[in-house]
């Protein structure tokens, strides 16, 4: 494949015609001359002119070198790669949503405000929290907001607390977020059943601890059996409980973090509520809080009075804005639409997510080592250590040749040669059986023909990529007249 900058110059498609301007103006000022000081006017714009057909072909061909849920099974643990219903795309692309300016008068945006208000009400009910902000753009920003709220809360109370307890199985974002907010992370190890080690937790819980950050169920796909005790001890200590809700797909209608003692939660709408992952975003990391923390949520907030919706900016305690405007509204529309499609039947989503995960776990636990021999929630972690070092990587690469996206590998960090598998509820038994067959076959191949497995993937548009070279000789952008490394065009690629 060429890079877009490598095409020969073409005639521009001309989406914008200056003629649009020509009938204009009684003073006869038809020409569009720019009268700006010369020291601020650009001398050249080194962007190619191309015509629509080649641009469309270029990106269509790129898309054919990509894998998504629409192509096949994508059991990427912790990411909830469920099917993204098409109707939600139509909903979000409706003119009344997609072409609406965020600074329109409130009387012109009642539909959007109503949708946001109702979505917030649904999420409150689903999680057992008392209030929600839809503003954060992604889970990590939701976490950041949660930690900022915690800091603001203790500052307001006049308490100095600068530590966060985080189990060693946690997503990397948890400690990264804590340290962005200058909280020191106390890492607590997991016990033999995959729970946070309760006695180590008790030792760590001091008057300086502001926050306990738990993923629920945790990243091993396990419900921490001590959750209620952990919350109770935290609260006795004046410490807040934060729920990383990335794994909410296990809990819909089954259990509510608000009932488990969590004070703040973020949800990833692009995981649990089916908004498309987009190749790495946009997400939406909405944040819920118990009533005593609700005043710390960002402004503005959508409020309802007499069936009229408006934006409320008043809350002295609010931590402020975490982004411009009102959040990733397009994602709110899709999630809202998804919730309406399931409605009161939404528990089925989590039941089937858990059923599918346990089914896969049962079928695979002999071929691989189960990290923790318990029933799992919506995902589970296998170890391929019996197949040697780097085997998780080899298995992942070989799976591509069978038409499957690999699971998350080498995470959580506490499991050697980890394969973290999350099937989601939208996969059929036939697909799951096919995946099991492929993994079992690879387990045989890795013993019988290890060299072939090491060369895999063999069927993808490119072979294994040299990451070391990428880092050693960084080439991070195309440059005019740059001497690109000698490139052989890939005959297999479109």
């Amino acid at each position: 494949m060429k890079i877009i900058f490598e095409y020969e110059e073409q005639k521009n498609t001309g989406y914008i015609q200056e003629e649009q301007e020509e009938k204009e103006d009684e003073e006869g000022k038809n020409d569009v001359s720019i009268e700006l000081p010369s020291d601020i006017v650009r001398k050249e714009l080194p962007i190619p002119n191309l015509n629509e057909i080649d641009v469309v072909r270029h990106y269509t061909n790129l898309s054919r070198m990509n894998f998504g849920v629409d192509i096949g099974f994508y059991p990427l643990g912790s990411c909830t790669m469920k099917y993204n219903p098409k109707v939600n795309e139509d909903a979000a692309r409706t003119e009344g949503f997609s072409n609406l300016h965020p600074l329109s008068p409130e009387e012109c945006v009642q539909g959007s405000l109503k949708l946001m208000w109702e979505l917030k009400e649904y999420l409150k009910d689903i999680t057992g929290m008392d209030d929600f902000s839809l503003q954060p753009s992604a889970g990590a920003q939701g976490e950041l907001l949660g930690v900022m709220m915690t800091k603001a809360y203790f500052k307001h109370k006049g308490e100095k607390r600068n530590k966060a307890i985080i189990p060693d199985s946690a997503h990397g974002t948890n400690p990264a977020t804590a340290s962005m907010c200058r909280l020191e992370t106390i890492t607590v190890p997991s016990d033999a059943r995959g729970n946070m080690d309760i006695s180590r937790y008790k030792e760590a819980l001091s008057a300086e601890v502001a926050l306990v950050m738990l993923t629920n169920p945790n990243t091993l796909g396990l419900f921490d059996e001590n959750t209620l005790e952990i919350s109770e001890l935290a609260h006795k200590n004046g410490t807040l409980m934060y729920c990383d809700g990335a794994n909410m797909n296990a809990l819909l209608g089954i259990a509510r973090p608000g009932d488990q003692g969590f004070d703040i939660i973020h949800l990833n709408l692009h995981k649990t509520f089916s908004t498309p992952h987009g190749g790495g975003g946009p997400g939406a990391g909405v944040v819920g809080a118990k009533s005593f923390l609700a005043d710390y949520l960002p402004v503005p907030r959508v409020v309802q009075r007499d069936r009229t919706y408006s934006l409320d900016y008043g809350s002295e305690k609010s931590v402020g804005r975490v982004r411009s405007f009102h959040g990733n509204f397009g994602m709110h529309v899709r999630a809202y639409s998804y919730i309406h499609s399931w409605g009161t039947g939404i528990r089925k989503v989590s039941e089937h997510a858990i059923l599918n995960a346990n089914y896969l776990q049962s079928l695979l636990k002999e071929t691989f080592d189960l990290a923790y021999n318990r029933r799992c929630a919506h995902e589970f972690v296998l170890s391929s250590k019996r197949y040697g070092e780097k085997s998780a990587m080899q298995i992942a690469k070989r799976l591509m040749d069978y038409g499957f996206h690999p699971p998350t590998i080498y995470f959580p960090l506490i499991v050697p040669e980890a394969l973290m598998i999350e099937p989601t509820e939208t996969e059929s038994k036939e697909t799951l059986d096919g995946f099991v067959l492929a993994l079992k076959k690879i387990a045989t191949e890795i013993k019988e023909d290890p060299e072939m497995v090491k060369r895999s993937p063999l069927s993808t548009p490119v072979g294994r990529l040299d990451e070391v070279a990428a880092a050693r000789r960084p080439n991070l952008r195309w440059q005019p007249f740059q001497r690109q490394n000698k490139v052989t065009m890939n005959e297999n690629s479109p």
């Binding site: 877009i4 993204n84 009344g96 965020p102 990397g172 990264a176 039941e351 049962s362």
Partner: protein
């Protein structure tokens, strides 16, 4: 609707294999079990659902916009949304497995290249959430690089951006300052500024550098970059801002597209994903995520940022937009936006509106109206026009793009004049 393909027969077989008698047994350890009834709407068929959604959308009013202030109504070629709708791109995730994600990765590489060309910077990342938090990331990066904790913000930064900076500073224990001295980590200036003024900021870059601070240019209306000097040419070390103008719908404020680009010496401090070119085992060109050791999933509490999911699909939209528009199209968009704003400004001046811009402006300008801003807006609203951003009392911030037709401008003028 029911997006679960498993039949009841399958369920029974699966349960049997797992060794439980019901799904309820599988979730027995989740306590306390939720036994209430969720207060959610009734499940809907697709017909009911789309009618419901269109019904809500219909209670919004999409009007003729003369408001910008951080969200710009530019034309989006049809091909953008058609290409974005390809499921192979929009239903994938972060390209952890490069061999299956060359489409997303190459598009990111192209995006990074476009951003560098437009800003005059050396390295751009794969995108950030949106402009305001991208600017906050630039401030965090500056503090981390310089080991200082104060941030100087030139006046006339978009108010949302300033509020987000304040929020991030409070969280990260940094301070906004109005003094430039050797505690200053970075100097931030928006160009064009919130009022649409443009200027060569070399003087400010030099002041920043003279105290050892980094200079950040914030760009909120990136179509301006097609005709304005790239910030890299007047001394910017970091350019951060918003890319919504490049092919991304207004969508009531999001999802938009944050971007950040830096000089070479800062790139290991960049937050988020970076894509690099390399070769594969067969000797072909390919792309990978690179320098991941900066990132949270490897470095945890020592990461440059907690960013994980960014705005890949929006970056793709911008990349496709830029490729489709090309040099000529981008230049026309900028020139028309500029021309229409100046045309409207000229016509308003004849109606005793006083322009308050103290420098040349691009496509947004400030006027003092001969009546209250509210009064102007309500007259315009009756004609289906959103007339601008209310700066208080009789001051308005007005924006034009190539979408505002000559007729729109005439209607704007007659509505204001015909009071």
């Amino acid at each position: 609707m029911d997006y679960i393909p498993t039949t009841e027969k399958d369920v029974q077989e699966m349960l049997k294999l797992i060794g439980v008698s019901s799904v309820k047994d599988l979730v027995a350890e989740f306590n306390p079990a939720f036994t209430g009834k969720l207060n959610l709407p009734k499940p809907k068929s697709e017909i009911e659902l789309i009618q419901h959604m269109k019904g809500i959308a219909a209670t919004n009013k999409v009007l003729r916009y003369f408001v910008g202030a951080g969200a710009y109504n530019h034309y989006i070629p049809s091909a953008v949304s058609h290409l974005l709708a390809r499921g192979d791109l929009f239903t994938g995730y972060t390209p952890y497995q490069a061999e299956m994600s060359q489409g997303t990765l190459q598009a990111i590489y192209e995006f990074q290249s476009f951003i560098c060309l437009l800003t005059g910077m050396d390295v751009a990342n794969a995108s950030l959430y949106e402009g305001a938090s991208a600017l906050a990331e630039a401030a965090l990066l500056s503090c981390s690089y310089t080991g200082r904790d104060r941030i100087f913000v030139k006046e006339r930064l978009h108010p949302h951006y300033l509020e987000v900076l304040q929020t991030y500073c409070e969280g990260a224990e940094l301070r906004l300052t109005d003094k430039m001295d050797n505690n200053t980590a970075c100097v931030i200036a928006q160009n064009p500024d919130f009022y649409g003024n443009v200027e060569n900021l070399r003087y400010l870059a030099e002041q920043a550098h003279s105290v050892g601070a980094l200079f950040t240019t914030c760009v909120v209306e990136p179509t301006s970059l097609s005709i304005l000097e790239p910030p890299g040419n007047y001394g910017a070390d970091i350019v951060a801002g918003e890319g919504q103008s490049f092919g991304i719908p207004l969508s009531f404020g999001g999802p938009y597209l944050g971007f950040i680009a830096v000089r070479d010496f800062l790139f290991k401090k960049l937050p988020g994903r970076i894509c690099g070119m390399t070769t594969d085992s067969r000797g072909n060109r390919g792309f990978v995520l690179t320098f991941q050791a900066r990132e949270q999933h490897i470095r945890r509490e020592r990461a440059t940022s907690n960013i994980t999911t960014n705005q890949a699909l929006m970056a793709l939209a911008a990349t496709i937009y830029l490729a489709l528009m090309g040099r000529d199209g981008l230049t026309k968009v900028a020139k028309l936006s500029y021309a229409k704003a100046h045309l409207l400004n000229g016509k308003l001046e004849k109606l005793n509106f006083k322009n308050l811009n103290d420098k040349p402006f691009y496509n947004e300008f400030v006027v003092k109206a001969p009546m209250s801003a509210e009064g102007v807006f309500s007259r315009l609203l009756k004609k289906g026009i959103v007339g601008g951003f209310n700066l208080g009392e009789d001051n308005l911030l007005i924006c034009c793009t190539e979408m505002n037709s000559a007729q729109d401008i005439d209607d704007f003028i007659s509505a204001v004049a015909g009071g």
